[in-house]
């Protein structure tokens, strides 16, 4: 079992490293990740939402749908714990 786990881990790690081969250099401001969508957020967010904390602006508005579900996730967690642990009142 341990050997299998080790092999699986190794395979996953190698696969992930293999994938990094094509990445842009670390911290490169011209990398695709930083040059496609995010500059628009940085440049327009304040103007569009009047929120200088860009993370909050994106979290609350641009990707507010995600955040709504994030809240639901944690709500579910609280509920699930109650479900799992509380014994029924006799």
């Amino acid at each position: 079992m341990k050997a299998f786990a080790f092999l699986a881990t190794l395979a996953t790690g190698v696969a992930l490293l293999y994938g990094t081969k094509d990445f842009a250099a670390w911290g490169d401001a011209a990398s695709p990740a930083s040059s496609h969508v995010s500059p628009v957020y940085i440049e327009r967010a304040v103007e569009q939402t009047h929120v200088p904390n860009l993370v909050t602006a994106i979290l609350g508005d641009y990707r507010g749908y995600d955040t709504m579900f994030e809240t639901v996730v944690i709500y579910c967690a609280g509920l699930a714990v109650v479900c799992v642990l509380r014994r029924q009142k006799s």
Binding site: D22, A33, V37, D66
Partner: protein, 497 residues
């Protein structure tokens, strides 16, 4: 209420109902039923209208928060997702009728908790179906997972342990998916599926794209329990409370397969998926064939109805994965059709199991004696479901199997043909063994007949069951229009059936 937001209301109704159930349900149990059924009825009707609208006016895209994609989160309402929307809400509605009764029986005093999680799960599934954003998909996947963990853990016996194993496996799957999304993001800088799809072909990064593809798929495979990655499923689904199993079993794997289709065709192109890596496509069909055979074989070894059904479920996952990966229009049509059919078949069988367990308290094979005499209607519906699983016309199971087989024949994947036929035969053996048990052995040989309640399950358990059985036939006979009007439009371009 404008029709632009219709699908949002469809998704929000169960979510809001969940909060209402939590708030009001703790005051009085009487609120739970009307609230959840009402919300789901609303969703079903809404989904139907959405589907009609999509069929009339074509697919459309919707941006949450009115931010132009790729900046906001985009929802895609195309024929397939509208169909899935209807399927999920409809199945949930039927399953809820049954769950209301069985939860009352199994988890007295905790119904409001159960149904809150339950309704959020429905909302999560509906959300998954709609989303067109790779990361949003992850969040919703986690919502469905976390509610499922909770629901399963509410069961008795080994439920807690099964749920924990599910958490570990489910997290691995979700993390792999997230890694895949990360790789795509670093390459393209966007999370919108359509946007990624438009950028990917122009990139020169084969290694990273392949890695992303692999991780996305493996992540989803873990979630959908494709054969070697299935170990968490049988325990989890068979230990869950009956009410939870009735809904989770038909929908979870099916929606995940829908997501796989989304990832394969909305993020990547069919060209990339099928033809970029020599041998991968054929290898996956082989793996799916093997999965079908192994899972069917394992089903033979089970002595409990619900466990047997879970293994059949795993085999069916192999059907659909293999069907999609046949790389031709017919196979894909079959897979998409099978998503619908399998959801209904599984629902039918699990509903029947719920009705049986409600009456007899057990699903071990040696407790099923004489059921045909005791619960004729339940068993009649169960029989229809079983015939569909075996693939006997005119139940819908036959027609999707037909397309899958035809696709395999066209693609010359004889191993898949053989696996499908073998699994049909094994299903026949499995179910006729059950029929024999329930038909021949008179009841009350080993149990005193006084403690054997007679008659069919109460109407709340029975009516959805009968309805589903009828739906199996109706969908079966309506296969032609379904394919012609909906599924044909959902195929990627260039893949006519």
């Amino acid at each position: 209420m404008t029709s632009t937001n219709l699908h949002m209301y469809v998704m929000m109704a169960p979510l809001l109902a969940a909060f209402a159930v939590n708030l009001l349900g703790r005051v009085s149990r009487a609120w739970i039923g009307p609230l959840s059924l009402g919300a789901l009825t609303f969703s079903t009707i809404g989904a139907l209208l959405t589907l009609l609208r999509v069929l009339h006016h074509g697919a459309y895209r919707y941006t949450v928060g009115n931010w132009q994609p790729p900046f906001g989160i985009e929802l895609v309402i195309d024929p397939l997702s509208a169909l899935m929307l209807l399927l999920v809400s409809g199945v949930a509605l039927l399953a809820t009728c049954s769950a209301l009764k069985s939860v009352q029986n199994e988890l007295p005093g905790r119904e409001h908790l159960f149904f809150t999680l339950y309704m959020i799960l429905v909302a999560g599934l509906l959300g998954l179906v709609l989303t067109g954003d790779a990361f949003n998909l992850y969040v919703l996947l986690e919502i469905t997972s976390i509610t499922t963990y909770g629901l399963i853990a509410m069961g008795s016996g080994r439920a807690a342990l099964s749920s924990f194993n599910y958490i570990i496996m489910g997290s691995i799957g979700a993390c792999f998916y997230l890694l895949g999304v990360g790789y795509l993001y670093i390459l393209t800088g966007t999370l919108n599926m359509a946007d990624i799809a438009s950028i990917l072909p122009g990139l020169n990064a084969p290694a990273a794209i392949a890695t992303a593809f692999a991780f996305l798929l493996v992540g989803l495979w873990v979630k959908m329990a494709l054969f070697p990655l299935h170990i968490w499923l049988p325990n989890a689904y068979s230990q869950a409370p009956t009410g939870a199993g009735v809904m989770i079993a038909p929908l979870m794997t099916k929606v995940t397969i829908y997501l796989m289709i989304r990832v394969m065709f909305s993020i990547f192109s069919p060209d990339y998926t099928f033809f970029a890596h020599a041998g991968v496509q054929a290898g996956i069909v082989w793996a799916a064939s093997l999965a079908i055979l192994c899972a069917s074989g394992l089903a033979l070894a089970q002595r409990n109805l619900r466990r047997m059904l879970t293994y059949i479920l795993i085999a069916e996952v192999g059907y659909m994965v293999g069907g999609v990966w046949l790389a031709n229009g017919t196979g894909m049509t079959g897979a998409m059709l099978h998503i619908v059919n399998d959801a209904l078949m599984t629902l039918c069988l699990f509903l029947a199991a719920a009705a049986i367990i409600y009456r007899t308290g057990s699903l071990e094979f040696d407790r099923l004696h004489g059921l045909y005499r005791r619960m004729p209607l339940t068993m009649a519906a169960f029989t229809v479901g079983a015939f569909s699983m075996i693939g006997i016309p005119p139940t819908c199971g036959f027609f999707s199997k037909w397309y899958l087989l035809l696709g395999a024949v066209q693609a010359q994947h004889w191993e898949f043909v053989a696996a499908l036929l073998a699994s049909s035969l094994i299903n026949a053996v499995l179910f006729f063994r059950l029929f024999e048990l329930a038909y021949f052995k008179p009841a009350g040989e080993d149990v005193p007949s006084a403690s054997q309640p007679c008659g069919d399950a109460p109407p709340l358990l029975l009516s959805p069951l009968v309805l589903t059985a009828v739906a199996l036939l109706v969908v079966g006979l309506g296969t032609g229009p379904l394919i012609e009007n909906v599924i044909r439009l959902a195929l990627p371009p260039g893949f006519a059936p």
